[in-house]
């Protein structure tokens, strides 16, 4: 299901969370990057039909989200993981997934139970499947959230920071899982972890202050950092160089800084190959 927004705007009182956003998201895995408050969650809530826009148009898989029928048609094929998803403490993961499955219209009891069990296995929650979720750790809750988003074989998966709060191993496992699902689906992934996008997405958009400041291939985003990423070595106790320091490692010969700056930060700065993070930081500096 492809996503098409034109002039999409959302205001909250005086705050404009989305400023006339034009986005065309094809199938496959698509990354959404942006600082805190950039508008990622607002965009995703609109796509999930949870929040109405203040202006502009959204079409998902050809359905107009402004109409009730269009919204319902999209929601039937949607898997959505909200940021900060809450769970019912008095249900077990198995019951919670069963409940969500029923509301997603999975009426065949046996098929639904089988799918719930498969998903619990997939997110490694089988052992606690029957335990009440009260007292579950952040990572366990997130895994329940990911599992419910995959119920009903959705054609569009919208996941808002799915890997936040997961340990590194789980994070890698989940982003691989999501990108594996992306084959014939659309997976929209928002995150602060640039590495997750670098490892899974061919295309990405970057948002800042409610606007889309970049859309395109992830490899192109890396190239924004070309000619703007430097390594500088300074003696111990010397002030860091100008520009955005993306890393600082102390070694015996001094401190090695990786710096993103449009101009050479110091005479002895050496240009280096940018990573996606460098490209992202360079973009944010513009």
């Amino acid at each position: 299901m492809d996503i098409q927004t034109t002039g999409l705007t959302r205001r909250f009182g005086k705050v404009t969370a989305l400023h006339s956003v034009d986005l065309a998201i094809p199938g496959g895995m698509y990354g959404l990057l942006g600082a805190n408050g950039a508008g990622k969650t607002t965009l995703m809530r609109i796509l999930a039909g949870v929040l109405p826009p203040s202006g502009g148009q959204v079409r998902v898989g050809g359905h107009d989200l402004a109409t009730g029928a269009g919204r319902l048609a999209v929601q039937r094929r949607l898997g959505y993981l909200p940021q900060d998803l809450g769970l019912y403490p008095d249900l077990s993961p198995r019951e919670f997934l069963d409940y969500v499955g029923l509301l997603k219209g999975l009426d065949d009891t046996r098929a639904r139970r089988r799918q719930v069990d498969e998903l619990l296995e997939l997110v490694a929650l089988t052992e606690v499947a029957g335990r009440r979720m009260k007292g579950f750790s952040g990572g366990m809750r997130r895994r329940v959230g990911i599992a419910q988003a995959l119920l009903g074989d959705p054609a569009l998966i919208v996941v808002d920071e799915p890997t936040a709060g997961l340990d590194p191993e789980e994070r890698v496992r989940f982003r691989t899982l999501l990108s594996g699902l992306a084959g014939n689906r659309t997976v929209l992934l928002s995150t602060h972890i640039v590495e997750d996008v670098a490892q899974t997405c061919q295309y990405a958009a970057v948002m800042a202050g409610g606007r889309v400041v970049y859309t395109g291939m992830v490899t192109e985003l890396v190239r924004v950092g070309e000619g703007a990423t430097w390594e500088v070595v300074t003696g111990v106790g010397v002030a860091p160089p100008a520009g955005v320091v993306v890393s600082a490692i102390s070694r015996t010969d001094g401190t090695h800084y990786r710096v993103v700056s449009p101009t050479r930060p110091s005479a002895d700065a050496v240009p280096v190959t940018p990573s996606l993070e460098d490209g992202y930081v360079a973009l944010m500096q513009r």
Partner: protein, 279 residues
């Protein structure tokens, strides 16, 4: 999977009946697991059962008719037990915001009215169950005490006619009012209302006591027992709501209580729908 295949796996889902039952079932399950529901019901019922005054059903003469005895128990429990139910139900709707389950629920292909209706059904069922159990315990006690095997049947009937309509009425308000006034304030107001609207002598202050819209079930109990249960039909404020007790007025009271309980749900549904569409 193609679009059509996806639709087939999901069933028709046009009527929304299975979704409604799913919400009702899971809401019931979650509420029935609240220990406070059972504890409060048991404590309140024990206190009122043990310390009932000389007018209580336990002290009715040995030859008192079974319907009168069980209507008496239903009224007795009705004095305090619905207080616990109102307290428990007060956070059921608003907690979806607090817990953070609301965004997910709103993203599911289910009409919002259906979620509301399911929560209402679940709430009525979850408070009806302990109430029914109380009546069965009282009925069991009276069966032993009075030796009338039919008494358990009257216990169930008294539950259905005297208690259930009032519980549905309470559920409608307890679910929705906290959206407007917050749960703690609602709980305080509800206790005040319960005594004012059910038990306060009508000639003391203007009150809804003894009217058709008295959720404790005054009219239904008076009809079942053939005696004045509390104040049904006693002249007072809003006299048009105080007809003679009897079968007709009892059924009218049931209908009014059920409709009044649905009213706050309808209002909430309309207000929430308008808010959703206003961006």
């Amino acid at each position: 999977m193609s679009e059509e295949e996806g639709e087939r796996v999901r069933g028709s889902g046009v009527s929304g009946m299975s979704e409604l039952l799913a919400v009702g079932r899971y809401e019931f399950r979650m509420q029935a697991r609240k220990r406070s529901l059972w504890l409060a019901t048991a404590v309140l019922a024990t206190v009122i059962g043990v310390f009932q005054g000389p007018r209580g059903p336990r002290y009715l003469p040995a030859d008192a008719p079974a319907p009168e005895v069980m209507a008496g128990w239903a009224m007795l429990f009705g004095i305090v037990v619905p207080l616990a139910f109102g307290m428990v139900l007060a956070d059921r709707l608003i907690r979806d915001r607090r817990l953070g389950t609301a965004p997910l629920l709103e993203s599911l292909p289910v009409r919002p009215g259906l979620l509301l209706a399911g929560k209402y059904l679940g709430g009525v069922a979850a408070t009806g169950l302990p109430a029914l159990l109380l009546m069965l315990v009282a009925g069991g006690y009276e069966t032993v005490h009075r030796g009338d095997p039919l008494i358990l049947g009257w216990a169930v009937l008294a539950f259905a006619l005297v208690m259930l309509p009032g519980l549905a009425f309470v559920a409608g308000f307890a679910l929705t009012c906290p959206l407007a006034v917050s749960a703690p304030l609602f709980r305080v107001l509800f206790v005040g209302y319960w005594f004012w609207g059910n038990m306060l002598t009508p000639d003391f202050l203007p009150s809804l006591t003894g009217t058709l819209v008295t959720p404790i079930g005054d009219y239904q109990a008076s009809w079942l027992s053939g005696e004045l249960a509390l104040f049904a039909g006693v002249p007072g404020w809003l006299n048009f709501l105080r007809p003679e007790p009897g079968a007709g007025s009892a059924l009218l009271s049931i209908a009014l209580l059920l409709l009044l309980g649905l009213l706050p749900l309808l209002v909430t549904h309309t207000v929430l729908a308008r808010r959703r569409h206003a961006a």
